[in-house]
């Protein structure tokens, strides 16, 4: 199995463990609908994906995954509080223009929010930037600055500082090493390649 496929699996498995049968799940930046298709099949969730890429929207439709083509934050504003059990932001926040505001909307419309991101604080990513001066390229972000999406380098410590500032409750966190499979908990900002949080509105 190619490495990026293993990585996609990892995210999918942990999120599936958190989500319960019959939950309603909104996946922002759903891509081709792989995660939602899996959740529909294994958890019988009521799913909705959001993506800005029309070709990915077609792929979702082919999988019978309902999908909304357009701006996620504008869509979230259309829903009353606590409309979903879960909002999933899996490797989405780094590409958003205003991630803080989207996360705030997400915890308003959903009881639970899963946020997964590549930790740019991981030592290998720091090392790469130290050596080259530019953002790391690897098989998750293969494109160089001139071709790739703009992205914000999100770190574990940066994300947790944001959560404290906004009084967001961190209900659960899973940190994975550089292989994105082995869990770790010691000095995650330096040692974890991937972070997945379950966050909630502070009650």
């Amino acid at each position: 199995m190619r490495r990026h496929l293993i990585k996609r699996e990892t995210d999918l498995q942990i999120i599936s463990e958190w989500i319960e049968n019959g939950d309603s799940v909104l996946d922002i930046g759903c891509g081709r609908g792989i995660l939602l298709e899996h959740l529909i099949r294994t958890r019988a969730v009521r799913a909705l994906g959001v993506d800005t890429d029309l070709s990915k929207v077609g792929s979702c439709l082919k999988r019978s995954v309902p999908v909304y083509h357009g701006d996620a934050e504008a869509l979230l504003r259309e829903f009353p509080d606590q409309s979903f059990d879960w909002v999933v932001l899996s490797r989405t926040i780094q590409e958003l223009r205003n991630p803080g505001s989207l996360i705030s909307q997400a915890i308003r419309v959903a009881e639970n929010v899963a946020v997964g991101f590549v930790n740019q604080g991981f030592w290998l990513n720091r090392w790469s930037t130290l050596l080259t001066g530019s953002r790391p390229t690897n098989d998750v972000f293969p494109l160089t600055w001139d071709e790739g999406h703009p992205y914000n380098p999100v770190t574990i410590s940066g994300f947790e500082a944001f959560a404290r500032r906004k009084e967001i409750h961190l209900a659960n966190a899973v940190f994975l090493k550089g292989d994105w499979q082995t869990r770790t908990s010691r000095m995650p900002n330096l040692r974890a390649g991937y972070a997945l949080y379950h966050i909630r509105q502070e009650s």
Binding site: S24, R46, L48, L54, V57, G58, S59, C60, L61, K62, R63, S64, P66, V67, Y68, H69, G70, L75, E78, F79, P80, S83
Partner: protein
């Protein structure tokens, strides 16, 4: 030596070819939403493909204001143009006649063979004209339901599909007969018209009604308010296009002036094009039908008295795919999104896609591979 030619394994989507319309007659009274009724009705329709044994593989195509039942194929070998949605309907095309039984009928109130204001009133032996009951989108849908169930013996629809006024019918289908239709594809449509769309319709109606030939709708067949109807069509046609689309097609190109009789003859290509649109419309459309159908559009309002779109849309059980076109300024993407937002708030299985085409409201009618892919994916799933 030259390599022998290899046979291509790719097959081009095929054409339906020759088709014939049929008439469905219902010889019982039909009660309109307005409370008025007519003693019986006729719907002219065409079908392509075969109804399966379970009688559940039908696709219903709902046409727009100026459309009709002839949406694919040709009526004779000398036809210059195929049906209005021929690019999307046929063997191997997105609305695949190898798999689906495609049905399209001229709407109630129309003028291409279905009951409408120019039909004969059996009580008087004369055309109804303005005595024809006011038609609503819901009336059109209920009449289609009679055709499908009583006329064709269809048990359930695989999907109802349509753009603009057809999209309104599609939504109404989901609301009126939720257990009968499994998928809905409304395109370039709205849950109710905004003031701008009503305003354009009103100008069109006034152009017709102020034409002295209109005679309160009692004009004879073959005569009628041709000037008014042509002007109404010319103006409406502009609303179906876009600035960029018109610019690309015509720009400021001029017509040859050699035959010009006055300085106000058509000077620019776009003028000549619109005059042609107006003229060809009067040969195929009835002015009274135009009045009735534009009124049906104006009155259509799924927000209803409560002002909550969810009250109506929550009755829908079908899966929906709403498609909007970026350059559509008659029923802009935001109005299409509103429909999806309400469906999603009701917890319905609904999807939305916005296509970046430049041709305005009529984009759903043109060759658009992105549109084909979306509807194919949605229908196959």
């Amino acid at each position: 030596m030259i390599d022998p030619p290899t046979e291509s394994t790719e097959t081009e989507p095929g054409e339906i070819g020759l088709v014939q319309w049929k008439d469905f007659t219902w010889e019982h009274p039909f009660l309109f939403e307005s409370g008025d009724s007519i003693p019986g009705l006729t719907l002219r329709y065409e079908t392509y493909g075969r109804l399966n044994e379970a009688r559940d593989n039908a696709l219903l195509i709902c046409h727009a204001l100026s459309g009709d039942h002839h949406c694919a194929g040709i009526h004779s070998l000398s036809d210059r143009k195929a049906g209005w949605w021929n690019n999307i309907i046929g063997p191997g095309k997105p609305f695949d006649t190898n798999r689906y039984f495609v049905v399209c009928s001229n709407c109630l109130g129309g003028c291409q063979g279905s009951s409408g204001p120019k039909s004969l009133n059996p009580e008087t032996g004369k055309p109804y004209n303005l005595d024809f009951p006011l038609v609503s989108i819901r009336d059109m849908v209920r009449a289609q339901h009679l055709l499908l169930t009583e006329g064709l013996g269809i048990r359930s629809l695989a999907a109802a599909i349509g753009g603009s006024m057809g999209g309104m019918q599609v939504l109404q289908w989901g609301i009126e007969f939720p257990e009968f239709v499994r998928k809905l594809i409304p395109m370039a449509t709205t849950a109710r018209q905004n003031a701008q769309a009503i305003a354009f319709n009103e100008v069109g109606r006034l152009a017709i009604m102020q034409d002295p030939e209109w005679s309160e709708g009692a004009y004879e067949v073959g005569r009628g308010p041709d000037v008014g109807l042509a002007v109404a069509r010319m103006m409406a046609h502009i609303t179906y296009l876009s600035d960029a689309g018109l610019e690309e097609k015509f720009g400021r190109d001029k017509v040859r002036r050699t035959h010009a009789r006055s300085q106000f003859d058509a000077e620019f290509q776009v003028e000549s094009y619109l005059r042609y649109q107006g003229q060809s419309f009067i040969s195929r459309f009835d002015a009274n039908s135009y009045l009735y159908l534009t009124k049906a559009l104006d009155r259509f309002d799924l927000f209803g008295e409560s002002g909550r779109l969810e009250d109506q849309l929550q009755r829908i059980e079908a899966r929906s795919l709403v498609i909007a076109f970026k350059s559509d300024w008659l029923f802009p993407p935001a109005q299409n999104r509103t429909i999806v937002h309400a469906l999603l708030r009701c917890g319905r299985h609904a999807s939305f896609a916005e296509l970046d085409t430049a041709l305005g409201h009529d984009s759903f009618l043109v060759h658009a591979p992105e549109l084909y892919r979306l509807v194919s994916c949605f229908l196959e799933a």
